[in-house]
Symmetry: C2
Subunit: 337 residues, 2 copies
Amino acid sequence: MYETIALVGATGAVGRIVLDQIVSRKLPYKRLKLLASERSVGKEVRVGDQTIKVELLEPDAFKNVDLVIGSTPDEVAAEFAPWAVAAGAVVVDESGFWRMDAKVPLVIPEVNPDAVDHHSGIIASPNCSTTQMVVALAPLHKAARVKRVIVSTYQATSGAGLAGNEELRDSIRDSLAGKTHPPKTFAHPIAFNLIPQIGSEKQDGYTSEEMKMVYETRKILGDDDIQVCPTCVRVPVLIGHSESILVETERPLTVMEATELFRGADGVTVVDDLAAKQYPMPLDCDGKDDVFVGRIRHDISGSGGIAFWCVSDNLRKGAATNAVQIAELLMRKAAAV
Amino acid sequence: MYETIALVGATGAVGRIVLDQIVSRKLPYKRLKLLASERSVGKEVRVGDQTIKVELLEPDAFKNVDLVIGSTPDEVAAEFAPWAVAAGAVVVDESGFWRMDAKVPLVIPEVNPDAVDHHSGIIASPNCSTTQMVVALAPLHKAARVKRVIVSTYQATSGAGLAGNEELRDSIRDSLAGKTHPPKTFAHPIAFNLIPQIGSEKQDGYTSEEMKMVYETRKILGDDDIQVCPTCVRVPVLIGHSESILVETERPLTVMEATELFRGADGVTVVDDLAAKQYPMPLDCDGKDDVFVGRIRHDISGSGGIAFWCVSDNLRKGAATNAVQIAELLMRKAAAV
C-alpha cells in the first residue's frame, strides 16, 4: 500500500539520517524519490546500494507517491504538504508548521501510536526537545499522571542544522586562534558561550521553542491540564540535547518506582549510577536512537516530584528516527489490514 | 587595624584575580604577604607596581598578619585557617571547608553584611554557584519571602581552576583535529560535551555542589525553610556560570515588581529584552563583577513564581570579588570604630 516513498529535504542534517534509517531499519518500500529545491536538483545521493538523483520539489512530483517524509523548514512544509495530500499521499512532517493543527496527529510511536489512525493526510513529528522529554515522561504519566514539569534544556548546535555545527566548529577554531568570528546562524557567538534563546519571542516572555514544549507535550499526552515551565538554552555541543527535568505527579512516585517505569518504557535507556559517575552525556548518545535518562532522584524541595536528567541525539529520536518510526508504523498498520 | 594582609593561594586562577582586585579596589593595606605551598615558594608575583616573593605557608608565616584571604582547596584551608587564627589574624576563606561551621559567618556583602560582626576568626565566602543565585534572590526574599527554588546550572570549566580551562581548550583542539584527549581534571570528556555531576555524591542522589546550593542559601538568607532543588552541570564554557532559576515566593510577585527589585539590588545588573535578543551570556559577563539577570517572566506552570536566567563571572563575584569585598567590609568597619 505504501510502495513509493518521497523524501523532501534529503540533503539537510536530518534528511541524511532519515535516508540512513530508511536503509538500516529496512523500510519495506519499492521506490524512493528525493525531492528538494532547485539548488539541489540533479545532485546524486547514495542510499544503500542505490544512487538516486534529487528531483525538483513541485506539485507534480507527488504523482503516484504514497508516503512522504518531510525534513524541511516550516515555510517549505506549509507549501508542499497540501500538494502531496492532493496527490493522494500521506505526509509525515518533521517541521513545526502542522503540529498544532487540530486535524493533524502529533505522534511519538512509543507514546501515542494509535493517533496515526485519525489523520487527514498529514501526521506531524514533534519538536526535538519535546520528543525526548515526552518519551521519558510518558511512562510516569501513565502510572501517576503528570501535573507539572519544570525543564531547562541544554540544546546542541545541530538543532540549527549543518550550518549550526559549522558555525560552532569554525568559531571555536577562530576563538582558540584569538580571532573573532561574527555569528551568522546564531544571534550571538556560540564558541565558549551559551545563548538563552531558541526561536523567536512568542508569548509572556517565552520563546517559540519553549512554547512548543508546553503545547506539544499536552497534545501528545492528550492532557491539557499538564503545566510546563520551560527554559531553552543553546550550548556549545554539536549533537545531543540534554534536559534537566523536575516532574510533579498527581500520585507521588518513589525514585525506585520512577526508575522501574523508565526501565520498562520503550525507547528509554536508564544510565544512572552517580557513585560510579555514570549518567547520560551528549557524546555518549551521539548516533543512538534511544532517550537516555539518569540522575533520577526525589525532589528535595518538597513537591513529592522526581528530578532527572535526559539526553538524546536530537537528529535521531528528536527528528529522523521518530519520523521514520511513524512511517514504519503506517506501513505495518497498512500491511496488517 | 588591618595593616598586614596575607593571601594564601596567590598563584591559582582565583588568587590572581584577588590580587588584581586588591589593587584595583585600592584595599587600604600596608603590607602584603603571599603564601603558598613549597612548589611555589620563591616565585615573584607582580602586584600593582610592587614585586612580591611567595613565602612558605606554615604556622609562623602568620606572625603579625592581621587579615588573611584564602583561595585554596578545602584540605589546605582546614589546616592553615587555625594557624592564622592562633596568630591573631582574621581569615576570609573561599574554600568550602568552613562554610557550614556554626561559628563561621557565611557572607555576601550585598546580602548579609552584618554577619561579619559575629565571627571567631574565620569568615567564609560562599560557593560560586550559590553566591550569584543568592545575590539575585536576596531582593525577592526581602520583599516577598522565597519559599522554593528550582535551579539548573550551566557551570564553566574555570570552576575547576586553571587546569579545567586548559583541559577544555586542549581537548577541543584535539577533538577538532580528530584526536582523542583522555580527561584528567574532569571525570569525562568536556569538549562538545556536558557533565551532569560537579563534586562527589553527597546525599539522596544529589552531589556535593548541589547540596552547597541548598545549605549555603539557607544560611546566607537566614531562613531554614527555603527549599532548593538543584541540578549542577559542567558545560564547555571557560568563564561564567549560568543558572536557569524558578523561584516561588510566599507573596506572588509580578514580573514588573521582580524586575524592579532586581534593578534596585546592589550588585545586580538587569539585561532583559527578548525581542531585541538581549539577555545575559557568559562571554559578556567575563571579567565583570556584577550578577547579571534576564529572561524574567512569570512561571506559566502555575505556581505564581518567577523564572529567570542568571549569569556571573564565577572567578569574580563567585570567588575573588566576594572575598575582597568581605575584606573591604571588615576594614571599613574597623576604621569606623
